[in-house]
Symmetry: C2
Amino acid sequence: MPASKTKGHAAVCPISNERVELLVTEIIGRVADKWTMLILEELEQHGTLRFTEVRKCVPGISQKMLTQTLRQMERDGIVLRTVHPVVPPHVDYELTELGGCLGEAFCGVWQWAEKNFARIEKSRAAFDKRAEKAATKTAATR
Amino acid sequence: MPASKTKGHAAVCPISNERVELLVTEIIGRVADKWTMLILEELEQHGTLRFTEVRKCVPGISQKMLTQTLRQMERDGIVLRTVHPVVPPHVDYELTELGGCLGEAFCGVWQWAEKNFARIEKSRAAFDKRAEKAATKTAATR
DNA sequence: CGGGATCCTTAAGGATACTG
DNA sequence: CAGTATCCTTAAGGATCCCG
């Protein structure tokens, strides 16, 4: 169990630690988002993509969410957005180096999900069965 | 750049691959959640915690979200919930082995956030400055 | 084509009150 | 103590239209 998480930072950096932790937490909250992760994954796999291409790669995402998420990622320095001043417009998206690092960091989570999805499904089924039993029992009691 | 993400699964497993991908995506969506990650982190760091203790460790979480998230995690087999039949009630939460693995997988993301939060802040500031400039320019034009 | 602006609907999430 | 149940508010997110 690797111990160097947020707490490990304390000894190193003297600047207000609650602030750092809040910041890190906020970043985690921003980055640990469904669409962000999916877009990240696609850009990592395909390299550079245009707006419409990203949209095709991420099924189910609305144009609004795509724009919004890409903007956030651009703002955070995860994605590089290049506008080619031609008509009709041509906009390219690609990961920055920072974004690439994040992609690699998330890789472990993807692998975890891939490796364990069957276990998770089983656990869910078992949980639901127990819950159902409990429910019928409660119904019988009253 | 490790290439074995969802796509890498294709060659190994013959069962409907879209289904697997959907499942994995769904799991990612579930697990890549702010509260889930924070609770995971606390349980990994403290071992076993009671309901109220978790609540204290995760500032800002409402009791509703805490219950809800813990239930989801229990259902997914990430967290083990132990009820001691005493009065007043005593309920313990701890990570399962599966949960521990997930914690380790997420560790990379935490480290990424810790390492790069300054860069991200700078990127955001720069982005906002550019946006502001663009806005005043637009305002001047009309 | 790549969005911005607007409207509208659903759902996430907080506050409060009650219970075994 | 560790929840469940209810209400209520905010905001996420989809659909639509339009524009450079």
